[in-house]
């Protein structure tokens, strides 16, 4: 392994120092990232690249840094993008046949902002088709593999982004989280994954799945790296009408390692023995003890509608998805069926050839729950229960600053283990979907291993209070070595 590759495994801070002290150039760093991706090709984590463009951007960054004028903490830093975040002139396929050849005519706001900050986009990550999945198996590129154990899933839907950071391809990757699609893969791959509050980061240029739930967020090896990337991406964007009209919050300056005086709530419904693996529960309880010792006050809270979150989520998400995916009609972009006899035939065959089984399943469910006669019984009902779930959190947050839970009920499952059983796959999102339904910021960070596989700890915050969960997460990292654990293959 080259010196540059060794540096690449470090945190953003160590990378920044190495670049600014001229120990290596941004070009060498990006070349190291490309070399690592070459060697780790079999993971199918990063599935498309434009090396020439990345190297050109790296050269420009090298010149800025040599002149002593880096644009930001991310100048010259390799960043991986999920395949549903668009960049002008690059493929954005959503891992779907229907967008297999789609080249974006414009930049997502996050791409624009990170490029302005000097970040170098080194590759695009594998994902579940249209972000519908929890395992990164339903993809035209084939399943992505977990760097900790290639026979296991890296989680999903942003599994490729999580695996890319875990395997040391790049210190930052972007994902999207509609029901846990950043946090669950972060948990499975032993990295930090951060879903900001709904409305914090512009969704302009994020290919829509469920518009009232979707949120872009970063993966990194440390909480402070996530915070740094978040600050550069967040803040109002007039092109997203659901964007919070406020500038990006200054979260980095709040990471002082202190948790004394903070109150952390443990929802009793999340700590039931059945449904969560003993290994996961043990690591999470150890994490609670660490925070207790550091001076946080630990209190029990209750989220009584927890058992209804999966049902509510899959009604709301599929309804919105069926509406969003109606745009794929074979007319303006995307796959078009050959020799259609008429317009109707063009629509039906283009969509049927282009979408995979899970996407069709969710379009059907969403269309069904929105159809005449069923709307109130299903979609309307779910929207009302969504209010009850939100109120649960309002009451719980009256008693605490941050809520702590496991991120996922188990460690990384085997590839193929759940792919034949859609309901079992949906139920694996049990701890993550409520943050999306309630619009809360949520963070997953490593809290140790169980049988050699990473376990994730989840922190949930009040709406728009990203600072508190990042602060607790950062303090936990300072007190523990878990974030320094790397997969067996990535160390060599």
């Amino acid at each position: 392994m080259s010196q540059a590759e060794k540096v690449l495994s470090g945190s953003l801070r160590t990378l920044r120092e190495a670049l600014d002290r001229k120990e290596l150039t941004a070009s060498e760093l990006v070349e190291a990232s490309l070399a690592r991706m070459d060697r780790g090709k079999d993971l199918a984590a990063v599935v498309t690249r434009n090396d020439e463009k990345a190297l050109r951007a790296a050269e420009e960054a090298s010149r800025r840094i040599a002149a002593g004028k880096p644009r930001s903490v991310l100048d010259g830093i390799p960043v991986v993008l999920k395949h549903n975040i668009v960049e002008q002139g690059e493929l954005a396929t959503c891992s779907s046949r229907i967008l297999e050849n789609f080249v974006s005519p414009y930049d997502a706001t996050v791409v624009e902002r990170l490029r302005a900050a000097g970040a170098v986009f080194v590759g695009r990550a594998n994902m579940d088709e249209f972000a519908m999945g929890s395992s990164t198996e339903s993809s035209i590129y084939g399943p992505a593999h977990n760097p900790w154990d290639p026979t296991r899933s890296c989680g999903g839907s942003s599994g490729g982004s999580a695996a890319a950071v875990a395997a040391g391809f790049a210190p930052i990757a972007l994902g999207s989280d509609t029901g846990g699609s950043i946090r669950q893969p972060a948990s499975f791959c032993g990295v930090v994954g951060f879903k900001p509050s709904y409305g914090r980061i512009s969704r302009w240029g994020l290919i829509a799945f469920a518009s009232s739930l979707d949120q872009i967020g970063p993966f990194a090896r440390t909480v402070s790296d996530c915070a740094a990337a978040f600050e550069l991406m967040a803040g109002h964007d007039a092109r997203d009408s659901t964007s919070l009209p406020e500038p990006a919050p200054k979260v980095c300056e709040r990471l002082d390692g202190e948790v004394a005086g903070m109150t952390i709530g443990l929802p009793k419904e999340y700590f039931v023995e059945q449904g969560v693996s003993p290994g996961v529960l043990a690591r999470v309880r150890e994490a609670i003890a660490v925070l207790d010792k550091a001076g946080a006050k630990i209190v029990p809270v209750s989220l009584p509608h927890t058992t209804h979150t999966i049902a509510t989520y899959y009604l709301v998400a599929t309804a919105e998805a069926s509406s969003n995916l109606a745009r794929y009609d074979g007319v303006r972009y995307g796959r078009r069926a050959k020799d259609p006899v008429d317009l109707e035939d063009l629509y039906r065959r283009s969509r049927s050839e282009g979408f995979g089984a899970e996407v069709k399943r969710r379009i059907l469910l969403g269309t069904y729950v929105l159809s005449a006669g069923y709307y109130d019984a299903y979609y309307g009902k779910a929207q009302r229960v969504r209010t009850l779930i939100r109120r649960d959190f309002e009451l719980a947050f009256a008693q605490c600053d941050v809520i702590l839970t496991p991120t996922a009920p188990e460690t990384a499952f085997r590839l193929g283990e759940k792919s034949g059983d859609p309901l079992a796959m949906y139920l694996s999102d049990v701890y993550t979907v409520s943050a999306n339904l309630a619009g809360l910021p949520a963070l997953s960070l490593p809290c140790g291993l169980s049988d050699g596989l990473p376990v994730g700890l989840q922190l949930l915050g009040k709406p728009f209070d990203e600072a508190s969960i990042l602060r607790v997460g950062d303090a936990f990292e300072r007190a523990t070595p878990h974030h320094r654990l790397v997969p067996p293959g990535a160390a060599s």
Partner: protein, 110 residues
Amino acid sequence: MAAVPRANVPRMSRIGHAEVARVAALARLALSEAEIDGMAHDLEQILAHVASLDALDTRDVPPTLHGFDLPTPLRPDRPAPPLDPELAVANAPARQGTAFLVPKVLEEEG
């Protein structure tokens, strides 16, 4: 708006082959008979799970429509450069100039 006899709607409905075929037509999906059977089986299971929501009394609960409450934002009505038309049609499967080509929609008179 057309009146829908809501009182007669079954709270928890079973979804069979014919219902899946109806929904597939609405969603503009062409499914084989085997695909319809498979989907009917999966949707049946999922709908059985979501039926648990029926246990909750939500008569006086307002719906949550979005991630947070925000009024529709307004911005000044100022002209801005549009997407280059060439770029806008660059992904078109069939085009003529800057127009999208589709099969004929209107029948010829005859």
